[in-house]
Symmetry: C2
Subunit: 249 residues, 2 copies
Amino acid sequence: MILLCNDDGFNAVGLRTLYRELSREDDVIIVAPETEQSAMGHAITLTQPLKVRKVEEEGRLIGYAVNGTPADCVKLAIAVLLDEPPRIVVSGINLGGNLGICALYSGTVSAATEAMIMGVPSIAISLDTYENPDFNPAAKFARKLIAKVLDKGLPEGVVLSVNVPPVPENEIAGVAITRQGKSRVVESFDKRVDPRNNTYYWMAGEMRFDEVEEGADCVMVGKNYISVTPIHFDLTHHPSIETIKDWNL
Amino acid sequence: MILLCNDDGFNAVGLRTLYRELSREDDVIIVAPETEQSAMGHAITLTQPLKVRKVEEEGRLIGYAVNGTPADCVKLAIAVLLDEPPRIVVSGINLGGNLGICALYSGTVSAATEAMIMGVPSIAISLDTYENPDFNPAAKFARKLIAKVLDKGLPEGVVLSVNVPPVPENEIAGVAITRQGKSRVVESFDKRVDPRNNTYYWMAGEMRFDEVEEGADCVMVGKNYISVTPIHFDLTHHPSIETIKDWNL
């Protein structure tokens, strides 16, 4: 059994394309947010209950829609909804890349991370465009990568975060094993005043590419490579431990 | 100017204790969520506008309450609300520890991270209890640590995540520079049925301590040390890059 999750919501095209591609050869079930949960990071829901809607299509159970975050969905799926743990969790296919620092804000990545924390191997996969997305090349690559992960096994505590360039399959330059880049979104805030004279702000922003080095996810996707970044969640910056010890706090 | 944020909300006692302690010697301003945002991870708000409420007390501006996440607050403060960047951002004092894997879910930690991404040094500070909290020892330590950070400077891209044991000041054993432990909350879900016969779940959970090694945050706080963990946000697991390259994807 393969468990699918995402942050764009149960009916997102990227998720459904992945479902179709993987169902050809595997049992697949979706446990995903009822509505869009982009940029939810690793949020979980403690102050509200989680409602679960069973989804059947053409007389067949395809999954559960949850009024929660991507991390909630994975927790609930593995702890409660599924009879046995999935062999692998795949999160995506996200509409939009999760490159550089953006990985921190990504609900897509956090769903995969949550699976890893719960002891299930996982992949996050994102298509680096918001316009006219064709998710099929990414779905095909996901199928190939899943087979590899199940065959080889992932290093302990490691998740793969995949970003696919938005080009036809025959224009993909190859697969690059990358590191998380330093590029980030620089926000702008659009200030407005409502009819009752209250000020409010819309967050917007543009990706700023600070990277030029080969080996960074954003650089390689820009060259039409599929980037595969092994990520983990020991946030400790080990080299700083000695530095801070010298402060004699 | 010191900027304070948190995830427990603008009126949380931990934040206000910190404000009082730091205002004795510094200009301090609060930009914090209007309501509790615990476990929001690094969520940011893209689908709704951010409303900002100016807060004055005794005729003096003390800050802004924002209907957003901790990361939203820091972004908005630095990009829009403050005339100049703060010298340092301090997030907390959180009610409850952010030890081990919990750091991933923590809005407190993410506010500090956001500051670091925007180029401002930052500290997250949490008191490891939910019962009868006395935030004063943590607030005093925060003041001392801020002075040290401003004097020494933090290594690039590094944030300090501090956890304080819930004991009187004279029982604090010392300060330990630690790594993020592996302990985590193991969830349980409480299943209920509403009056209209819909099933829903409350997420609950207990911290499971998987660590025994000295050097881990949770171990040292358990021994009544204040733990200071340097964290960063390159999520790349560098050793796995070569491993995955051998897969010949």
